[in-house]
Amino acid sequence: MGSLFKKMARSQLAIPLFALFLLVVFNLIRDPEFFSITIATNNDGNAVLSGNLISILNGASAIAILSIGMTLITSSCKGQDISVAAVAAIAGSVFVSVLRANEITIPVFLLAFLLSCVVSVLFSLFNGVLVAVFKIQPMIATLILFSAGRSIAYWINGGATPTVSSPLLTSIGGFIPGIPIPTPILIMVIFLILITLVLRFTNLGLYTQVVGINEGTAHLNGISPVWIKLIAFIISGVCVATAGCITVCRIGLINHETLLLDAEMDVILAVAIGGNALSGGKFNLYGSVIGAYIIQALTVTLYAMKVPSAAVKAYKAIVIILIVVCSSPVVKDFVVRMYKKMFKKQPEKEVQAKAA
């Protein structure tokens, strides 16, 4: 029992999973029907799943994809990229401008996606070079694109908010005919599987952690910190382009001001709630993804409780503080010490009782 508790307390995923569990229980008590999934028919006449659970999974997919890239950057560079949302706006703008210039067919769609990937990887690499080569704090290096990124998107769009509509885009942002699960969830799952495979079958994950824990050691062991950091930024660039394109497909237009607004903060929160140290080093991708779902579940719960949308942030902040306080090392140590005290004293009492 004691060892199980110790293992639980030590596991990185314990607190995020527990928080998610609490949220689910809270919702079930409040409204037993909260997680019921119904099969509805959408405008195109397809049978699709709908319900709060689906909307949580669907809504969090963009942040979850972004959090994968952010985790790698956090781990290797000991800092966060705050320009992801702005770069996503740029990628989305490129995506839309290619789509608008051509008739929307599958090859054109793929070309547009590829181009937006290339553009966002280039911007990410700009950040990456500043961080890896010039050794600038990631948060400061990405502050440049954070302040200029949305303006570049504005420039690409020519100041307008162009719309695109096509059955192909609605099937990417919504549902593929015949499949009842929203496509963003599928894309998210595919993305996670791909990244997992990459980390499982290459040394990338290990090297990333080594660079994060001790750059000098990594260098002495023949791992180039610069390259590992650049690779993290490249992967993040692909994540950013994917998230941007999914969001564009979902809403059918590109608005450089509001596309994924404040997403960078949510993503960093997701990484932190997932139990990853923002100061780099060891990481757990699944923790970050779970963190993204916690944030979205929290938002959906608050909306369901009829909290006005502008005030959601305040309640969100309180829950976030509670989660990070629970996962803080000081509090964890304290709890473990208290637990030990309680369990060490009991046998003594029993002995005394027997002796008496």
Partner: protein, 368 residues
Amino acid sequence: MKKGKDLIIENRGKKPREPISNTNLLMTITICTFIGMYLLAMFVWGGGFLNPQQFLDLFNNNAFLLIIACGLTMVMISGGIDISGGGVTALVTMACVVYLEDHGGTVIGSLLLALGIGLFFGLLHGILVAYLEIQPFIVTLAGMFFARGMVTIVSIAPRTATHEAFLNLKQMRITIPGMGYYGKTGIFIPAQIELGVVIALIVVIAVAIILKWTRFGRNLYAVGGNSHSALTLGINVKRTKFYAYLLAGILSGIAGYVYLLHTGAGDAANATQAEMQAIASNIIGGTLLTGGVGNVIGTLFGMLSLKTITNIVIASGLTKPYYQSITTGLMLCFFILLQSVILAVREKGAIGLLPEWLRPGKKDNKQS
């Protein structure tokens, strides 16, 4: 290598000048850039830049930003970050307006309310960061979310202050003797600053004194430079960090009141992105996010440079807002790269490349 050694041997007999510290070097660069930029603007665009009132308006419009940035400087020197400044500012403006309008508050009361809100956030951040060892970015991010959310809970609609005593305070202008310009009708209009600017300048001076001459200030540099060696030196690292966040919180509260004195309205959109602008001011001013390096005077000039570049962009005819943010980004990029290169060169000790006063590691005593 030989060259460097020879130079050192050569210089051994002479009186070597004290090498300039990183903090002062970065600050000097910022000040020079600002003065150069402003002089250039005066010669090229003339017009508004020759008008002293436009220079003072840099202060009038951004006094709150300066105060937030000062608080942030202390936090950044201690090696942390505080991104809640803008949110707290917005919350203070809204809370004070609602208090003045709906609850029959007094000016003193509203000032105390502003300080109280700042103190609350400072305490919260300080305890969570220093004593519970939670990452400062997340703590202050949650603080920002909380403050921004609370603004709309206090009042969703924007509110304007109509309280008489407060409006009198808001209208208060301080005339600078000897400075002014001739208006279109040829009448001499003296240059004026608002009350908030005085508060902001007092804050700058106070923070500069704290950083330079108090034990707490010197401890901040030690903690930010290397918290482990600071601990072994017997510095109370946790308490130093706690006080840094506490002061930053209180200064955010004051910044909110100054913002209210400037606009007289409470709005959920007040001071949007002020935290990022404050961080940018600090970076341009030579404060490093890694901690241990920085100066509040640099922050002042960083803020001025940041705002002057916006004015220059507008004066040169690029009035669309996206040009401003792109130039801000470029300027940040320039300063960040410059600092990075300078620090790298100094660390590696590329002695032959640098003028004598830039060379590190020769801290011989001055013989006077």
